[in-house]
């Protein structure tokens, strides 16, 4: 049979084509009005998934950017705080150089000390710097002031500053699997130590031991006398003031007492210490002071000198060591290494006590162990001369400590360098992230945006088609045999 075309076909085709074109026009209108090609996932599922990945990327990059800015903000504050720290230390070093001149008088030294105390105050402030309410040198303990004054002397001067922050740096994620430490721990900035040799200054004969100390900064070793015992035979005994007054120390044989009983009955004679001047004694002396050649001193009781004794006798002089001004003390055992403990902190000082011969005090400088605060405290106190140093000693101590200033300041500068480098890399990271962000946005827009010129062309085309469909349908519909039947 021939293929018949009925008017219904023309009608339904007309409707179908008109609808198809209208639908396409509606779609194009959507694209033209929204500027987007992807309005529903089904418009292009593959591109949709890619756009989603890009959008997630873009959101994440935004988050990284915000974190980078956060990190940069923190580091900026930190860097300026470190610069100030470095300034403070430089100024203090300058004062130390001035103070090391032997010629300055006490009043000038005191005014320098006041200056240093002000610097110390500033340093404590700087070390407790906050950025938006968070302490930047407290590690992860950002809500606690990291450095607090834990001891003051009678005049109210700060004696000790302690770190109370955490031992971990706070981290900020700035990129995929990349975190930077922004909040450094205060201990690594202000309290970094590089323990070196401990130096004893004094005349007792005490020397640093072989062990490693844990005490820091500077200290004083008190070498005191506890008991003098004389070798048997001569009848010489320790005098009444011996315990408190004797200045000799040493194991048996280290000191020698020479007794010459000129009376032959023990009633009188002479006595001398370590070849010092002979002192006359009688059998009524219970507290005879005998000076040695080098100024050492013993008190003897000569009431029971063995009759006719003439000759040398060996002395054993025991003593004690203390690093906390006598609060706790350790008996001297005259060995190559003795551990002396600071009572309250438990910090140890190792002492070679084998050559200790006289009492006295040793100024100890624990090389490489100063933190920034100790350094300023020690400088101030030496300028105030709380340790009773002579001008020469002060000058020596202060000059020797200049190295410590350099070490502490170098450490601060090193941290400053690290942070500056981090800042720099963050800056370039920020730039890179922004570039990637831009690229991602561009890609997204390529995938997502409608090609407007093409949309407009298609719109025109489909509009034409619709008009043609309607026109042709109308034309065909109007044809009928009836028009020709009379």
């Amino acid at each position: 049979m021939d293929f018949r075309i009925t008017p219904q076909v023309i009608v339904s085709r007309g409707i179908a084509y008109a609808q198809r074109n209208t639908a396409e026009l509606a779609n194009l209108q959507d694209q033209a009005s929204s500027g987007k090609r992807l309005l529903r996932p089904s418009d292009d599922p593959i591109a949709t998934v890619a756009v989603l990945a890009n959008r997630a990327q873009s959101l994440r990059l935004d988050s990284y950017l915000s974190n980078i800015r956060e990190a940069r903000g923190g580091l900026d504050v930190s860097v300026s705080a470190l610069q100030e720290t470095s300034d403070i230390l430089s100024q203090a070093r300058q004062i130390a150089i001035e103070g090391s001149h032997a010629t300055i008088d006490a009043a000038a030294a005191q005014s320098l000390a006041t200056e240093v105390d002000a610097l110390l105050g500033r340093l404590i402030n700087v070390s407790n710097t906050q950025n938006t309410g968070r302490y930047i040198f407290a590690g992860t303990a950002v809500q606690t002031a990291p450095f607090s004054v834990t001891a003051r002397d009678n005049e109210g001067y700060v004696q000790s500053v302690t770190y109370g922050g955490s031992s971990e740096r706070a981290q900020v994620t700035v990129s995929l699997n990349q975190t930077v430490g922004t909040f450094y721990t205060g201990s690594e900035v202000f309290q970094k130590r590089d323990r070196g040799a401990t130096v004893f200054t004094g005349a007792t004969g005490a020397a640093p031991g072989t062990g490693t100390d844990s005490a820091t900064g500077q200290g004083t070793l008190l070498v005191s006398h506890t008991l003098t015992t004389y070798a048997a035979g001569s009848g010489v005994q320790a005098g009444v003031s011996s315990v408190a007054g004797d200045t000799i120390l040493g194991p048996a044989g280290a000191h020698t007492l020479t007794v010459n009983d000129t009376s032959g009955t023990g009633a009188s004679g002479t006595i001398s210490l370590d070849g010092g001047p002979a002192v006359a004694f009688s059998n009524s002396d219970t507290d005879l002071k005998v000076n040695g050649a080098a100024g050492q001193l013993v008190y003897v009781d000569t009431t029971a000198i063995t009759a006719g004794f003439s000759g040398n006798l060996s002395i054993t002089a025991d003593g004690a060591l203390s690093v906390d001004n006598g609060a706790t003390s350790t008996a001297i055992d005259f060995s190559s290494n003795q551990t002396v403990t600071f009572g309250t902190s438990g910090a140890v000082t190792n002492v070679d006590s084998s050559n200790i011969r006289v009492t006295g005090s040793e100024h100890i400088d624990y090389g490489g162990s100063y933190d920034a605060f100790q350094l300023l405290i020690a400088l101030r106190d030496d300028l105030r001369n709380t340790r009773g140093l002579t001008d020469a000693e002060r000058s020596e101590q202060l000059s020797a400590r200049l190295g410590e200033f350099d070490r502490v300041r170098n450490n601060v500068l090193q941290v400053l360098g690290q942070q500056s480098a981090t800042l720099q890399s963050l800056e370039s990271l920020e730039k890179r992230v922004q570039d990637i962000q831009l690229e991602t946005t561009k890609q997204t827009s390529d995938l997502e945006s409608a090609d407007i010129s093409q949309v407009v062309l298609s719109l025109q085309e489909h509009q034409n088609l619709l008009q043609l469909t309607l026109a042709s349908t109308a034309r065909l519909m109007s044809e009928s045999l009836l028009d020709f039947l009379k």
Binding site: S42, S166, F183, T212, S214
Partner: protein, 656 residues
């Protein structure tokens, strides 16, 4: 005189023909109408004068012009495209629901992790904590509303399915009613064309609702099968019904039978496919995304510490259905596995912290057993609440507990015969749980004696570090061991063989018991319907488990949570959370795209079939007009013929 009858036959045939033409013109626009044509045939000739002479014309048949091949193609296309469009409608609804516009689950998911990462930079910032919790709430709200919308769509589908079932049953009854009418006519050889048209139209309507097979029997009786089972048999109509099966799917069965019908095609087929396959697939994908997210985030969060450190009291938020049943069979959404839970107990006055291991075997231990094991730890008590099915842990006054797995503050000094006191600190960064054993080699004084060493070994016996604690070591100063762990030895003596050890914990909950029981969780619930942020976190953001160390500036747990987004945890370990969701969106888009192109193909095919059908069965009014003129003429001519015959007879009559 046969002439009159011949003319009469021509008259009546033309009249029949004109009737049919009238019917055709009248029904030109009736859906399902098939053009009818009159078949004319000569009548039987009679012998006259030795010749066989024709006696006129008769209507031999009134034929319905239709191609059964084409009609069955149309029927098939009807139910296929109804199927497609029913599916497409549903899919498009779901598509617009999860379409990745701004503020969609996709963006919220990304924002959720971003907020964790940003908060990790300033974890002590309370307003920022609220912002983060707000974005978490936005995500859970979004998931909830998605769940509710999926429910709503499912409800709509259920309604439509029941409606379709009713319509199918009504149509079946109508078809069954027409069958005998046709049979009655056609037994008498009367073509029941109009009833057939009517029935074909009903069958096509039925095909729009469900895929059908038709079987034509004698005398025009047509049986209709649905899903392989007879729905209409001659004049009997079956009835189908919809019901829920055990898995929550809707199944269709014949009334009075339980055997489900394999329905395919038609609106019903499409609705069933959309509801039972597609919708439940989308829901299960979103649910697996949600439950994985909840479990992972909770597992990390549970081991975190808030701004105020440990807990005095903690109640689980996920319940078992029987506190005496082994955990593996207790109906937990996140099944725990065999492993350990490490609980730290801190004396708040002294700060001394102990680390305690609780071994968990879900195959044998019930919640009650676990509570008993936890209660075995000094200073804390655990209780399995029979009423709620949850676990509660309470610390004695002056004590706190947590699951951060931090190092013990003081190692057990009982293995040390010297006077030195050891201390361990730091944050373990290793990958697995271990025990570091420290042993002194050499005898002497810490910081003084040369060659005094501290050997550190791990539980496998491998050497971790060998540290100098003799001459050159500053007593009390920090020595790096390995993986972030440090050790100190106070000044004093140490003897050869002196030993102490410390547990180092990378994963405080290898059993996964914390997320399983919802202890210190971040979320509540475990699926899209009931997921939410734990209520007391929203009111007390300081409880957020941000840190591993308890320091306010430590955001390491937050960072761990943020890191989850790059782990390929879904799709059998091939997709991250975001990728999985994007793939769901993409797959959905692809399905909609497929169905849309399928639909437009079906439309094209439909148009072609309709054209073909029209070419056979369609009424062309012009054609009918031509035929009308033809038969009009034929009628006039027959009339004229009769007149002629009549006049001839008149002549004869005049003769008389």
């Amino acid at each position: 005189m046969g002439g009159v009858f011949t003319g009469l036959s021509a008259l009546s045939s033309s009249q029949r023909a004109l009737d049919i033409i009238g019917q055709n013109i009248a029904n030109a626009n009736t859906p399902g109408y098939h053009r009818q044509a009159v078949r004319l045939a000569e009548t039987v000739p009679v012998e006259q004068g030795g010749f066989l002479i024709g006696t006129g014309v008769k209507v031999s048949d009134i034929q319905r012009l239709r191609s059964s091949v084409l009609e069955s193609a149309v029927t098939r296309l009807t139910y296929e495209s109804a199927d497609t469009s029913a599916q497409l409608t549903t899919l498009q609804q779901v598509e617009s629901l999860i379409s990745p516009s701004e503020g969609s689950v996709h963006d919220d998911l990304e924002a959720f992790f971003n907020q964790f990462e940003q908060l990790a930079s300033r974890p002590d910032d309370q307003p920022l904590r609220r912002v983060m919790l707000g974005s978490a709430t936005a995500l859970t709200d979004q998931l909830n509303s998605l769940g509710a919308n999926l429910d709503r769509i499912q409800g709509d589908l259920d309604g439509q399915i029941h409606q379709s079932v009713d319509q199918i049953n009504a149509l079946a009854r109508q078809i069954a009613a027409i069958n005998p009418e046709i049979q009655r006519a056609e037994v008498q050889h009367i073509p029941a064309n109009d009833q057939r048209d009517q029935r074909d139209q009903l069958i096509n309507e039925l095909a729009g609702l469900v895929g059908v097979q038709t079987f034509e029997h004698d005398y025009g009786v047509t049986n209709v099968n649905v899903g392989g089972w007879p729905l209409v048999t001659s004049d009997r109509a079956g009835e189908i019904q919809a019901s829920l099966d055990a898995s929550g799917s809707i199944v269709i069965s014949l009334k009075g039978q339980t055997q489900p019908l394999a329905i395919s095609g038609g609106k019903l087929g499409g609705l069933l496919e959309a509801r039972n396959q597609f919708l439940s697939d989308v829901r299960s994908r979103l649910n697996s995304l949600t439950s994985e997210l909840v479990q992972r985030v909770d597992a990390v969060h549970a081991t975190g510490l808030g701004l105020f450190g440990g807990f005095d009291f903690l109640a689980g938020s996920r319940a078992v259905n029987d506190i005496t049943a082994p955990l593996a069979q207790a109906g937990l959404a996140f099944a725990p596995q065999a492993g350990s839970l490490f609980i730290s107990v801190t004396d708040t006055a002294t700060g001394v912290r102990t680390l305690n291991e609780v071994v968990i075997d879900p195959a044998t231990q019930s919640l009650q057993n676990v509570a008993a094991s936890i209660s075995g730890i000094s200073h804390i008590q655990a209780l399995a609440d029979a009423q709620t099915g949850t676990l509660k842990i309470i610390a004695e006054p002056g004590y706190q507990f947590d699951f951060a797995g931090r190092l013990e503050t003081a190692p057990d000094p009982s293995g040390i015969t010297g006077t030195t006191v050891p201390g361990v600190s730091g944050k373990y960064t290793g990958a697995s749980n271990d025990v570091f054993t420290f042993q002194v080699s050499g005898t002497g004084t810490v910081g003084v004696t040369p060659n005094l060493q501290l050997l550190v070994t791990n539980s496998a016996g491998g050497t971790v570090a060998s540290l100098n604690i003799g001459q050159g070591y500053e007593p009390g100063s920090v020595l790096q061991v390995a993986d972030g762990v440090t050790v100190t030895l106070a000044s004093g003596t140490a003897n050869v063989g002196d030993t102490f050890s410390t547990r180092v914990i990378a994963q405080p909950d290898t059993a996964g018991i914390l997320p399983a029981l919802g202890l210190n969780s971040f979320f509540r619930g475990d699926n899209i319907q009931d997921i939410g942020v734990r209520a007391d976190l929203l009111t007390n953001p300081e409880r957020l488990g941000a840190s591993a160390s308890g320091q306010p500036g430590d955001g390491s747990r937050l960072r761990d949570i943020a890191a989850l987004r790059d782990l390929k945890l879904l799709g059998g370990g091939t997709q991250t959370f975001r990728e999985f969701h994007a793939a769901t969106v993409g797959d959905l888009g692809r399905e909609v795209q497929d169905l849309t192109s399928q639909q437009s193909q079906q439309q094209l095919l439909g148009q072609r079939l309709e054209t073909e059908r029209q070419s056979i069965s369609g009424v062309d009014p012009n054609e009918e007009l031509v035929h009308m003129l033809q038969f009009q003429r034929s009628f006039q001519m027959a009339a004229r013929y009769i007149t002629a015959v009549n006049q001839a007879l008149d002549e004869l009559v005049h003769i008389l």
